[in-house]
């Protein structure tokens, strides 16, 4: 599979932009067409999953509704519409000796993507790889194996119809877990591995991977409400950052509140959050402030333990801590953040600047919700992950971040003296 991926990837990357985009349109049309095999495969996966008593949430993630299939097709067309990153020339110049040099953007090579049960990830990853000329070897969760198999056949069919090599997109259909460790040792074949899943998967990859890995998707996100923050607007931002999509990686986990706005901000924010079902794990000063207001829904306010800081809640819950200074807020973030998305809410120019200088997260915010960290929101298009790794590319791994470059050096029979 690895050797076939390498060859197919090289072929794919040499195809014109129009051909790769035509394959994406072909994928979209194949998804939209009535597809009995896909329906049957998904129903069989769901039947097994029900028999294995998977949770309703997992069953839901596994289900391919017509709306989700339409979403996958729309996703293919969105990726087709993104400008082609390949062959862009960068840093082109003529050196004093007359050599002309430039970086030309090329694919990363062969990617390994390991993911859990959602089958729409299969289409998404496939589309991004077709666009960027990368070959991919996918390993999905065993719960969605039949569905993924049909989806990958559909993608491969769309490639072949455009004259592109089917083996640019391959799926591992053997569900033996030992194969994942074997895959992670294949550094001669895979240029990069992207695990899309929880901390268990990430730990396994960390243990076994011999090639570069983009870890992402784990965000312990903070907002610091500074002494000069606009209180009403800050309430809206923390509410948005927590509740707009509570189970995603850029959702808010911890509010840091400057003591100067403790009384003005915390009761208002707590009321707004609690009204939408959020539980607040509060440090002693913030809890005392809330307990002093018996009309507030006290059962939503719990004392925070050490376990509530540095925790990714992924649910309608967050922690609250009062700090005495910007420095204390920055130090808390340095200690507990996963360096995904962290922000300051302030009207103090110097504090905003200091926060941006000193907080080292993939996305650092001033006066905005952390929910914007996303390829689509940043205008980059679809992404395979939001990296919290410190490689040369950080944050949303969109089409450009799935490429590297080669130097092209054009001489007039130059020798080095």
């Amino acid at each position: 599979m690895g050797a076939r991926a390498r060859t197919a990837g090289r072929q794919l990357s040499l195809l014109p932009t129009a051909t790769r985009n035509a394959a994406l349109e072909g994928m979209a049309q194949a998804l939209e067409a009535p597809n009995a095999a896909l329906r049957a495969a998904n129903e069989a996966d769901l039947a097994d999953a029900r028999a294995a008593a998977l949770t309703p949430a997992l069953l839901d993630r596994l289900t391919l509704t017509p709306k989700r299939i339409a979403g996958m097709a729309a996703g293919c067309r969105e990726v087709a519409a993104i400008p082609d990153p390949l062959n862009e020339l960068m840093d082109a110049r003529t050196l004093p000796n007359g050599l002309r040099i430039a970086k030309r953007r090329v694919p990363l090579g062969v990617l390994g993507v390991i993911f859990e049960s959602r089958p729409n990830v299969t289409a998404e990853i496939g589309a991004l790889c077709v666009k960027t000329g990368n070959a991919v070897i996918m390993r999905g969760g065993k719960e969605s194996l039949r569905t993924n198999t049909v989806l990958v056949e559909l993608i491969r069919g769309a490639l072949v119809e455009c004259g592109a090599p089917a083996d640019a997109v391959q799926l591992i259909t053997d569900t033996d877990r030992a194969l994942v460790a074997e895959l992670l040792a294949m550094d001669d074949v895979l240029d990069l591995v992207i695990p899309r899943g929880g901390s268990g998967l990430q730990a396994m990859v960390r243990e076994h991977a011999r090639m570069p890995v983009i870890y992402g998707g784990i965000g312990v996100c903070h907002l610091f409400v500074d002494a000069t923050a606009d209180v009403a607007k800050s309430v809206e931002i923390v509410h948005n950052a927590k509740t707009q999509a509570p189970s995603v990686c850029n959702a808010l986990d911890t509010i840091l509140v400057h003591r100067a706005v403790l009384d003005a901000f915390v009761p208002l924010a707590a009321a707004r959050l609690a009204a939408d079902g959020v539980t607040l794990y509060c440090d002693p000063p913030s809890l005392a402030t809330l307990r002093a207001r018996p009309k507030l829904p006290q059962d939503r306010f719990q004392p925070a333990g050490p376990e509530h800081f540095g925790l990714e809640f992924l649910s309608l819950a967050l922690s609250v801590k009062v700090v005495d200074s910007l420095d204390e807020a920055i130090a808390h973030i340095a200690r507990y953040s996963t360096n995904h998305s962290d922000g300051i809410l302030t009207n103090d120019y110097a504090n905003a600047t200091t926060f941006c200088d000193r907080v080292d997260s993939a996305a650092v915010y001033v006066n905005a919700s952390t929910r914007f960290t996303d390829g689509g929101q940043f205008g980059l298009g679809a992404e395979v992950a939001i990296s919290t790794q410190r490689l040369h590319a950080r944050g949303p791994m969109a089409t450009q971040e799935l490429t590297t470059y080669k130097w092209i050096v054009q001489g007039d029979w130059h020798v080095r003296s």
Copy 2:
């Protein structure tokens, strides 16, 4: 050491450009000043090395002559003169919703550099890290431990004099080899590891490293002499690529010759190379061509075995193979190259274009010697390595390639709808 490196690196990266450059000037001055401790340490290392019967080549690499020390000081000043990569803003724009986003260039973080005996590497790596705001933990060869210890003290002294944190540059002084494996497991501390050494060191790193690694310095480099190549100029280029510095990674290893220029090119090139002491391992057609010319120095021409292709010679030797087409040359390179530096010598425009499209090396050349792959030659300044890894940065790892970015997102109290 790791925790101290993290803290010191953050502090270093926040210092103004002028302070980091002043530390580099301080390093240069400290190197130029008479330094009895450095001399004594190097003499003690050399005495041990002689007692251990190290080869003359290794003894030479270990020796700090006044000229080499002056070179190290000059290197510090050259690095100081490079534009500061930190805090450069990239891809800045205002999104339709009014959010202002930009990538801001920041250091990679904490680097681990493992190298063998040359002590000038210590100064070079130290200077590049001070410039780029990265902290570094170095592990040098045990043969140069005393010399490296004094050099690192000198760098740390220069940092402290400028108000910069000494712990940005640290040296592991325990020479137990097991510590290297331990270092390679510290993915919570080291953001990137750079092994500067041979294939034994690289294999060990590949086995144990849990963080991203930049492998480099192993170059099996090819030049393809096409049917339309200018023969006399091609002779000069292959001669330059092999002999200008035969022991370095971008030196030529294999000449691929189009059959159409076999008779015109090979005897001329062989005579020129052999005159400078180069041994040519030739495939049957090229060997037959040379054997048919008895006046040439026949003892320099040996039959090539399979082991001579895909081999990094690092000496005055190379292999020669005759091919029937551009495709065959490209296929040979795809199979045997380490994707460092490969080139075509041609006057055919379409072939030059096809070669650049289809050869996937960090540097792809048309009508120039492979010896140009080098940060200095490319106008990038000093480099820590020439990467043959397919990360987002390839080729010379100069100051810019030792950085990543963070997204800065400035809002006007934006929430995501």
